[in-house]
Symmetry: C2
Subunit: 385 residues, 2 copies
């Protein structure tokens, strides 16, 4: 394998930013105290922890007291779902964690449009008087589509008002899995109008296995993990001090540079789409032409064997995924691509390119040239070109 | 506050060993890949992760495939309990996580002896034909008592045989919370004879928020957190690669030096007990005189205000806890001390001293002298001496 690596899979994992690791490190060794211990150095650790939660919450317009720290987005999602006894409305293109948690309840999967948009009207149509939770992702992890959360929130509020008027006191809440997109697009709980929000440190250059569930004040939640009563009794276990200190710094950095990073990634992505479209007339770009994450590019060439391409590219240092990292590993087709109505030939010939901090102009240009070379070679080999 | 710190609270938290942090660090930055991604560097991360699980399991006589990585002992315990539908037998001196998880089921709390031992006969008497789980800790986190797990395992096996003979096919399992004691006493699943075992990285000089549940092959478990299907479907979420690499190294170091560390701590603790007993004739040492963790010393002086002493000691750099770190913080009396029949005056005058790697001869001697000075001063002040 070549020495230089071109990492084009930021949706799967992001490296911990060196500025994040720098602030975490002291909490592994010198400041290792249990935040529940009674002496001053431990009390200082407790303060640092609470202060980090507060800074973290501020990055998306919330308060530290209203977030529950978890071991990542999957746990956050499970926690959001465990308190619901009612029917669940979610979309067919959610992350596996949402789909698996929904399956434990009576639920309806809303089909997206062909461009991968979950229409508010479709959500409205799926809501029943028994619906307790609506869960829609901020942005799709495969095709990058940004969902109209604000409009879906309006639908949920309307249903809430309707219930109040008709003396139905069953609550209905809106949860948004915002694992993908933080640092690329605006994430603010008030502007989104959600009741619960999931964020994942491991997708924003923070440490892995750290996440949070924000819960609007007044919303009642039941714990999934019981014990010492940490996180206001909603998630027991000795606090992940180093992890949260890192998560907070990662969120601050992502929030601070969101606009410039968004513009930068947009330009790199559009360059890549242009080059690939020029090179391959049969190229299909999936997702919505405008409402997509700045760094996300999902392309398909019907008849191409994407798995072979991923391998050929890897040999040349270009690291990217076929359709979905999760689905690829299980040898099944992506449920997202099926849901947007993609043919099997197209789905099997699809590549997911997600740009991020490791992408700069020079490396994206080089990577694009390599991708074009390798696809061209493969199409020739199989007689497609 | 003084510059030098004497940390005598290893049961509450341990610093991450520098050798552990050194092996973890590359997995935050260079080797940050998602273990589920399809390209070679990610596949190498997957291999490193599985290999670390295997090395980790080896330290307590198990196989990597039989452990489920969690976010710590509290989650492990919750996971062990969630699969049980039957009655639960546990002891009155378990950690809060076990007691809270047990409360969600029909359960019986076995009272310990005055020395803090959970007698196998008492466990046998509490087992009913409906008992699905017996959970007893390896060693107590407050008074350090080591429990006769092997003998309790024999009781559970006997019950299992009895059920087989009487055509009762309801399973009965034994879970052991071994959060305290690893690295100080022998921990081996075969020798203990347990069906499930909880270990906590954060108590053995590894990173916090990493733990494991070992499950004997053949035992059926239900997941608590669903999603991408990681950890054989029993605990979803992107793997905590850095954490597990660190946990494995921490467990290896603890296992490797267990005998010498045990002898070293025993000597330091016995020195301390001798000095304190000489200085204060009214000193009560709790727990079992022989069956205790080498580094644990729980002492009480009836009438002493332990909270004042903890504060006075902290000013002089000696960090330790009253009765229990958890209970102290909640302003309630320790459930462990109540269960062993300690009077309120004795409980309120108790200190928990837990030695570990930060303890050496010189520092223990200094700390002991400071403790004696401060207790003497306080007893004089209050007219007790």
């Amino acid at each position: 394998m070549t020495d230089q690596l071109f990492y084009l899979d930021h949706a799967a994992a992001t490296p911990v930013d060196e500025r994040v690791l720098a602030v975490m490190t002291p909490y592994f060794s010198d400041r290792f105290y249990n935040p529940s211990s009674p002496y001053a150095p431990a009390i200082q650790v407790r303060r640092d922890y609470e202060e980090a939660k507060s800074r973290l919450a501020t990055t998306f317009g919330a308060k530290g007291d209203d977030i529950i720290i978890t071991a990542g987005a999957t746990e956050s999602i499970n926690l959001a779902f465990v308190s619901t006894s009612g029917h669940i409305v979610t979309s067919a293109i959610e992350h596996d964690a949402v789909l698996a948690a929904a399956k434990l309840h009576d639920h309806t999967l809303v089909a997206p449009t062909e461009k991968g948009i979950v229409r508010p009207e479709a959500v409205a149509a799926a809501i029943t008087p028994k619906t307790g939770l609506v869960s829609v992702q901020l942005a799709n992890n495969e095709i990058g589509t940004i969902q109209p959360i604000r409009d879906i929130a309006a639908i949920v509020k309307q249903e809430r008002k309707h219930r109040l008027d008709s003396d139905n006191h069953d609550p209905i809440l809106l949860h948004c899995d915002a694992s993908q997109g933080f640092g690329q697009i605006d994430v603010n709980v008030a502007r989104l109008g959600v009741d619960m929000l999931t964020l994942n440190s491991g997708k924003m250059y923070g440490p892995k296995q750290v996440g949070l569930l924000w819960v609007r004040p007044g919303v009642q939640l039941a714990p999934m993990i019981v014990g010492g009563g940490q996180e206001r009794g909603l998630r027991s276990g000795t606090e992940n001090v180093a992890g949260v200190i890192g998560f907070a710094r990662a969120a601050e950095l992502a929030h601070e540079h969101q606009k410039s990073e968004s513009a930068r990634l947009h330009e790199l992505r559009d360059f890549m789409q242009g080059e690939l479209s020029n090179a391959f007339k049969q190229l299909v770009v999936s997702g919505h032409p405008k409402k997509h994450l700045p760094g996300s590019l999902h392309v398909s060439i019907p008849g191409l064997d994407a798995e072979r391409i991923v391998f050929a590219l890897e040999v040349r240092g270009v690291l990217l995924a076929t359709g979905s990292a999760c689905a690829a590993n299980k040898g099944t087709r992506s449920h997202v691509l099926t849901a947007i109505g993609m043919s099997d030939a197209e789905a099997d010939g699809s590549l997911r390119i997600t740009l991020g901090r490791l992408s700069d102009k020079a490396s994206v240009e080089q990577a694009t040239a390599i991708i074009i070379e390798e696809i061209t070679r493969e199409l020739k080999r199989t007689g497609h070109a």
